[in-house]
Subunit: 397 residues, 2 copies
């Protein structure tokens, strides 16, 4: 039996969110009473098919688009892979080397795909963010070349919570396309909105995006379930082949419970967006202030203004005889005291070098192994922050 402190404060909502009870109830219907393969021809199957169509419609409404531009995948990771590899495979040929533009702080499910695209002969430009963790629309525009097929910029960062100027980039790309009258409307604009979905507007028109990734697990929705928004003109080749589901873009029996769960989770997220954003911004700012006050020399990583309401990421460098913290040690020590936190992202802890390339990109090299991430969610309260501070004081001396 592992030691489990009485009080436990979960501060890692950017890594995973629990399944909302209302989402769970909705899903259960389609796992048991209404289970059926939507591609079959009998009554239950038609109900399942209708539930899938209805979910597509509900999601489309929130994204201000039509249901035929909504596709279902098994995760945010798969949606990102399908977007990037799918566009690469559509355009690469003996006479054409597709070029991509992205930032140096994207999630591994984007950066690792770009590495693979480079291995397969594609060309990728990585734009550096500034010391606040923000990318400039001008830098992106200046990197567009004749063979640029896609620009991928995450809506909000998973480690430091910085919000990128997506609408501005979207506008710049659209202007470039119409000025240059590019064939096939390239470059396409893709954004990974997985971290943004709970807090930021998702209107795909205003954002000016052509492809968008959303992940169920980050929005109190189903695990192993992702959404891909893709405009009709965007040419994407499938990466998984078979029965031809999702209009041939993604084969495999439709996961009906997950699909209805995604729609329900997105609807709930939309309902709570404004109030939760306001509530969490206050808690976030309280936390930042308290930490900076209690730990001299500590500093916020990334912009405070262009920041998700739920993200707190702090560097604890050496100060007054105290050495800089070892983030991995502190996360484990905080766990013993009952706080679940993280350093860099969960997806990075699998790598041998689990330091934060995101924090490093801000130019503060000393912080890449000495920063902690606390991310808030629906259960978070100001009292949680007081508890966190008291634990931090015990652990960082």
């Amino acid at each position: 039996m592992r030691f489990w402190p009485k009080k436990r404060v979960f501060l890692d909502y950017a890594s995973i969110t629990p399944l909302d009870k209302n989402v769970s109830t909705k899903m259960k219907q389609f796992e048991e009473a209404l289970f059926a393969n939507p591609s079959a021809l009998y009554t239950g199957a038609l109900e399942a098919k209708e539930a899938v169509i209805d979910s597509r419609r509900k999601i489309a409404e929130i994204l201000d688009t039509t249901k035929d531009q909504i596709y279902f995948t098994s995760s945010g990771t798969e949606s990102n892979n399908l977007s990037l590899l799918g566009v690469f495979n559509s355009f690469k040929s003996e006479n054409f080397t597709p070029h991509f533009i992205t930032t140096n702080i994207e999630h591994p499910s984007v950066l690792e795909v770009f590495k693979e695209i480079e291995n397969r002969g594609g060309e990728v430009t990585y734009i550096s963010v500034n010391e606040k963790g923000l990318v400039s629309a001008r830098d992106i525009l200046n990197s567009i070349k004749n063979n640029t097929v896609l620009v991928s910029v995450m809506y909000a960062n998973n480690e430091i919570g910085t919000i990128q100027p997506i609408s501005e980039i979207g506008r710049a790309i659209k202007e470039y396309r119409s000025k240059n009258m590019t064939e096939h409307s390239i470059p396409y604009f893709h954004t990974d909105a997985s971290q943004a979905v709970l807090y930021l507007p998702l209107n795909t028109h205003s954002l000016g995006v052509d492809i968008m990734t959303i992940d169920g697990i980050k929005m109190y929705g189903p695990r192993g379930a992702g959404i891909l928004f893709k405009k009709e003109f965007v040419k994407i080749q499938p990466i998984i082949f078979g029965g031809g589901q999702e209009k041939g873009l993604r084969s495999g029996t439709e996961n009906v419970p997950a699909i209805v769960g995604l729609a329900k989770a997105l609807e709930i997220a939309e309902d709570k967006k404004e109030s939760e954003s306001k509530r969490l911004t206050l808690i976030r700012d309280y936390a930042i202030d308290e930490i900076l006050k209690n730990f001299p020399n500590s500093d916020l990583n990334g912009s405070k203004e262009k920041r998700l309401p739920n993200n707190i990421n702090i560097c604890f460098p050496a100060c007054a005889g105290r050495p800089k913290i070892d983030a991995e040690f502190v996360v484990v020590a905080l766990d013993v005291h009952g706080v679940s936190a993280s350093y860099s992202s969960s997806c990075r802890t699998l790598k041998e070098d689990s330091s934060s390339y995101v924090v490093e990109s801000l130019g503060a090299k000393d912080c890449r192994l000495s920063s902690l991430r606390f991310t808030l969610g629906r259960e978070s309260t100001k009292a949680d922050i007081d508890f966190l501070i008291s634990c931090l004081k015990k652990v960082i001396k």
Copy 2:
């Protein structure tokens, strides 16, 4: 509101199975109370990680292998894609054209992948089955060439339920490999066991398979969840890139509820295998006898002996003034009477030509649009068959 007959008999278990209640209960724990990203470093995450390891161990035990040879994917379709495309990508080079051997009655999630492999420059030999729907190990062996990297033969067919001689093929391939001392132990032997999992032995040693696909949705398990068994020496390149989960073979946050659900479903399947196989064989044979008796000239598609206990697939050709049936019409008419059945497979109804290539492969061309599939499951009874026969009599005149 759609018309829904009072009595409903579900006879399409080969297409989809409901989620077992015990599996559902187990999954729920990891969706709510024990939710956590298993790659994180705090207590809940470690519990999640342990649950994943424990599930791997339980599944490995049933397959008579070790836990490090068990991988989790989002479906049987993805497991098949990863097996075939992954091996193709590992071996293809400027100087080497990988060659594959398969049968002409595989599931679309295998046949469509082979089409894609051919598009990408690979070579595929399709072995025809005999009039009973069975492939010969000798035919496979005779097709192996120096550049053959993989043989893929499904354990049991999804449409006609025929059971292929997997152990015999496995033995023949092993003998070929040791006689020819092939590099990298090629050709590998892959089988899609998705339809076999509830009724046939899954010991990977006795079967002599190197790679095996299992699908959650076909075994009363989680939707959007698949298992891939892969021996250590098998070289497979990932098709989805990112955080490096599943030892780099399949990125994306682990779907913990689905993973514990897969282990639980497989355990239950194993427990019920013998008794359900016996029980359903009796019902199946009763159904076949009754249909053939009541519909002169009707005929069983595929071997009766080498057949899954739950599969009934019958051709209804023209007879005594009655025209041959239109399978699509009959399925819809049966639905009105309360019976859920199918013709060809659900994955085929998405294609423009939804006739059965499996039934056609048996040499009975007249049957490809005139055959019905009834597949049994845990809720099926002899009374269901009596009801089916009474409905069939009303629909086929």
